[in-house]
């Protein structure tokens, strides 16, 4: 038992500090992906509700593809594809040597593309839930399309979309574990290293699972608080038992 504590401790002989730095990378990656994926998801949602059939088709194909592909496959395609593309461009520009694709950026793009596909569904649902009259009323008051969207639709949208987007966040948090396969030193990566060195797989993967679990529990508590806050102006929702 004592040796287990040593293995998990911070410092030279323990892996605690490595695991902690990995956990920070995991959180950083998830947080960096979130705004990118959600914004792209909103754009895809607007495409899917566009009046032009061609734009609607683009939106539908996008979601079908990125919701249907394994995240691991998307990650490989983005990582190797960008790598090859960048090297090609680098050579064409007349430079020599190799250009490396940073794993963090590749992970952010791949997870962001997937998050955009899933969150676009949530955004579409939320956009549909906002009565048309809200927008018409805003136009009648002389607001431009952009202003009406920002000042009238968006604040209501966030409240309706929050539970779905919260779900997307929980999935994203767990998906970040895949990034370890392209050697980004996240929680999963350091756990794997610790396992190789110490031959204590059950201890370390168990610890990693528990760390992810704690992140999930904190997230779900935070999301519940956020939902209560966004619902505070809505009488019948605030009182509803959850």
């Amino acid at each position: 038992m004592d040796s287990y504590l040593t293995l998990l401790s911070f410092g030279d002989r323990g892996w605690g500090d490595e695991l902690a730095s990995g956990a920070l990378v995991t959180i950083a990656l998830a947080l960096a992906t979130l705004p990118f994926g959600l914004a792209l998801g909103l754009v895809v949602a607007l495409l899917k509700r566009s009046s032009s059939a061609a734009l609607r088709a683009v939106g539908t194909v996008y979601t079908t593809v990125f919701r249907g592909l394994p995240e691991l496959l998307t990650l490989y395609i983005v990582y190797f594809g960008l790598q090859l593309g960048m090297q090609h461009a680098w050579k064409t520009l007349g430079f020599s040597g190799n250009l490396e694709m940073p794993a963090f950026v590749a992970g952010m793009i791949a997870l962001g593309l997937v998050l955009a596909a899933f969150s676009s569904e949530v955004w579409v649902g939320a956009l549909n839930a906002i009565p048309k009259g809200q927008r018409e009323g805003a136009y009648a008051l002389g607001l431009t399309r952009g202003l009406a969207f920002r000042l009238v639709v968006m604040p209501q949208l966030l409240r309706v979309a929050l539970p779905g987007l919260g779900n997307n966040w929980m999935v994203l948090l767990k998906e970040t574990s895949l990034i370890s396969v392209i050697a980004l030193p996240d929680l999963m990566y350091w756990t794997g290293r610790a396992n190789i060195v110490t031959k204590e797989p059950f201890l370390f993967f168990g610890a990693a699972c528990l760390i992810y679990l704690v992140f999930s529990l904190i997230s779900s508590a935070g999301l519940q608080a956020l939902e209560r806050r966004t619902n505070r102006g809505v009488a019948h929702n605030a009182g509803a038992g959850r």
Partner: protein, 238 residues
């Protein structure tokens, strides 16, 4: 030329022609893995959902802890925990005669996926059973039905309708998630594709795998649409 070389030959890609047969073999492994874990998981989930709902306080809390753990941690981490972790318990597993099973990567993956999907499906079943109105229970009991009869003939058929759509989604998620099995030496579709890429450095093999995965997902989606129409045919007009 066998059929599995045809796609690569048709699009004139050497890597896909060379590794097409391996990749289709991998596809079969993926389908097996998913079919085994989702069906075993479903049986386990139904049990878990019933315990969660009617099993008393202690059992219900235990099931709640189980689902929270498996839904709150990444599948990859769970798979590593089982696959690498089992080796640490080798003497014990040998004693109870299970070591031959846990030595096998395919078994470890199927085992982990079953436990994982059971947790998700248990929540789906729980929600579906809860969505059936209380009056249905009361009316059935008033008619003198035994609780097992009530569940089988009254509650579960109605819950199945509600559960169908989320179960289809869970099946699609499992097809996609099963790709992590390739990280523990299993040559499923993802594993064979990784092998093909490592040997040919041709990115097209990944795109070919992408098309295959999209085909599976599309087939599931269409099948589910048909099944849903059939299960709800008594509710449709005309």
């Amino acid at each position: 030329m066998t059929w599995c070389e045809v796609p690569g030959w048709l699009i004139g890609n050497e890597a896909i022609a060379n590794y097409g047969c391996r990749m289709f073999g991998g596809l079969a492994v993926t389908l097996q893995l998913v079919a085994i874990s989702v069906s075993l998981g479903a049986a386990m989930a139904l049990l878990l959902a019933l315990v969660r709902l009617y099993g008393g306080k202690v059992a219900s809390t235990l099931v709640g802890g189980y689902t929270t753990f498996f839904r709150g941690t990444p599948l990859l981490c769970q798979l590593y925990l089982v696959y690498y972790g089992a080796g640490q318990f080798r003497p014990f597993l040998t004693d109870i005669g299970l070591w031959t099973l846990f030595r096998d990567a395919f078994f470890c993956a199927a085992f982990t996926f079953t436990l994982n999907t059971a947790a998700y499906q248990a929540e789906i079943f729980r929600g579906a059973i809860q969505s059936v109105g209380r009056g249905q229970w009361e009316a059935a009991r008033a008619l003198g039905l035994h609780w097992r009869g009530i569940l089988r003939h009254i509650i579960l058929p109605q819950a199945a309708m509600v559960a169908l759509r989320p179960l289809g989604n869970e099946l699609v998620i499992m097809v996609k998630s099963s790709a992590v099995a390739s990280l523990v030496t299993i040559f499923d579709l993802m594993g064979t594709t990784r092998l093909a890429f490592a040997r040919s450095f041709d990115l097209t093999v990944y795109l070919f795998a992408a098309v295959l995965y999209l085909c599976i997902v599309e087939v599931i989606r269409r099948t589910w649409d048909v099944a849903e129409r059939r299960l709800t045919r008594h509710l449709q007009a005309g």
